[in-house]
């Protein structure tokens, strides 16, 4: 009998620890999930939101998920350029690597403009625009809302009459910046 009590105690202790561990590991997986989505959010916030798909994913958020969930490289975003790579490397604690040229090259910011006299109103560009920046209706003239356009160039290939052009946006008083002092 004197053997049984310590034995039982040990058993109880084991069961208790087991339950605790199980519980801990459960909470661990759920915080992991929370962590993952929080990390995706943070990575997404660093990406420029051009939604151009040059990274090989259908948009900025999908690329952010791939970086976190599939260990995708951080150098696939041409619109973000070096700044995005540096920011991502700071965020994730990975080394800075040069931009992957297969994805594209760094360009100055651009906006699309439709030559309204040539547009035939086919609506193909509307369907291609990832941020709904084009307005128009079937067989009617289309136009780009300049303020909403991210310059992703996705509307260029579908246009059957090549009436969309990408231009450097005009310098406005609100965007003007003081020069850097020498």
């Amino acid at each position: 009998m004197s053997f049984v009590i310590p034995f039982l105690l040990v058993v109880f202790a084991l069961i208790a620890t087991g339950a605790l561990l199980a519980r801990l590991s459960r909470t661990n997986t759920s915080t992991d999930k929370n962590n993952t989505s929080a990390m995706i959010e943070q990575v997404n916030a660093v990406l420029p939101q051009t939604q151009c798909a040059q990274c090989g994913y259908p948009g900025c958020r999908p690329y952010a998920s791939a970086i976190i969930e599939q260990n995708e490289q951080i150098n696939r975003c041409p619109p973000g350029g070096d700044k995005t790579i540096t920011d991502l490397s700071n965020l994730l604690g990975t080394p800075v690597i040069p931009l992957n040229n297969e994805c594209g090259v760094v360009k100055p910011p651009l906006v699309a403009i439709i030559d309204e006299s040539v547009c035939i109103g086919c609506t193909l560009c509307i369907q291609a625009c990832p941020v709904d920046a084009i307005v128009g209706a079937s067989k009617l003239m289309h136009t780009v809302i300049q303020n909403e356009c991210t310059g992703c160039e996705l509307c260029l290939p579908p246009c059957p009459v090549d009436c969309i052009e990408l231009l450097t946006p005009q310098q406005t008083a609100a965007d003007w910046q003081w020069p850097r002092p020498a």
């Binding site: 939101q49 939604q51 303020n147 310098q171 609100a174 003007w176 003081w178 002092p181």
Partner: protein, 528 residues
Amino acid sequence: MNTLLNTLATRLGFHNQQPPFSFHGGLPLNPNKRALGESIVEPPLPPYLIIPLINYAKQSLTPTVAVGDSVRRGQLLAAGVVAPTSGKIKAIKPHATIHPDTLAVNAIVLHCDGEDKRGNPSASDNPQELGGASDNLSRLIKLRSSGKQSQMQQLVDQFALSGLGGAGFPTAEKLLGNTTPVKTLIINAAECEPEISCDEALIQSDAIDIVKGIDAAVQLSQCDQCIVAIEDSKPAAIENLQSALKDKPTAAQLMIIPTRYPTGAESPLIECVTGKYIPHNQKPTDHGVVCINIATALALWHALDNAPLDSRVLSLGGQSMPNPCNVRVRFGTTVNFILHSTGNNSVVNDHRIRAGGPLSGFDLQNLSVPITAHTNCILAEPRVEITDAQACIRCGQCADVCPARLLPQQLHWHAMADDLNGCKQFQLDACIECGCCDLVCPSSIKLTETFRYAKSQARFRDTLELKAVAAEQRFTEREHRLEQRALARKRAIEERKKTIQSSSEPDREEIKAALARARAKRQPKQSR
């Protein structure tokens, strides 16, 4: 007897409130008001005026007139912009403006016909016929108290009233648009920057109308108290204001504040008058304080009297200006024309011409640029060699004089490293670009220039960030919409399949029979 009592009361300081407070930092500068003369010079109307279509927030405006239209003085050209004289619209095209980079902005070119006719040629378009000044004032007050916002706005729009101080914020909005009740209305007559004396000149010539304007502002804002703050270095203007205030019973009181740059800037002035330092991320209106410029008060009175704001007084000064003076010019007059018509044309070729004061302004590269509501000064200075900056010796003098209580030396370090987060941490936003730090720095470091640069960088980054957030939202919404559409299509197909499967046997029999009939019909054709 009454006058005797009044003088006595004034002497004893009953009428003039003493400033109970001071503000942090600042510098006693030589006022150097060489433009202040006997009277205000009135040059002739120029042959043409250039009106930039842009508002105080640097948003472009859509013109309400077209090329070829004839306009009269006071007619609306765009929201908050009126024609400064009568004439014909010759063009609407980008034109260089007063800007450090001579930025071109879409502008109306108005050829003046010299007749300066007022009023709207098509008066029937204008349902709100304007009455006299006091009629308009009581009408506005009535509209305000009965909550008729849109009618009030319509009336106010015709005033074209923007602040004549620095920023050009729409004044009517300040007076009529606040949600928290106004405790203190401050009329800013401090005009603290050296060389600038346009407000002082106005007080000396127009004090009676100014006081009428102040009274109107008091009634419109429904403030508890109104304080007219003026620096002690302007004895003549103080006397004019005192006697004008005595003649018109109004709730406004004169407060004589010490002459110390930059008391005329909004936050030091509020601190000086109320003792409250309002942090940069809060608005004065949140604290029940509204601040308007004294020239704006006069413009308010004129606007109520059916003369919308279309001109201003500005100071011509600087070491090299041969004929310094205060001039009254219409908006849209070019700097070149002003200098020529005041006998100052000798400076245009070999001097530095500056728009704005010696501290707040910047050099102009092109003189064919039109003046606007916030051009308060034009200076001619000799060309000087810029002294090279030395390393910071951490003397801390810049922090001592900073009215925004910043640490300019730290800010400079972060700004030059393009570390915008560091700048934010040291409250770059609070910098009012007064230039005090530059003046005291023994190492001649261009602190203010650096802060202007970093501030514009931060502003640009913020707009990019806002744009990115909007793009991401539009992208997500589109994804969601496409998903819903695909889902709906799938559901419809499944629905359809189900109806076919669940359709009753007799129907199927009928279909079979119909098929058999069709085949039977086709058979003979094939066998032939």
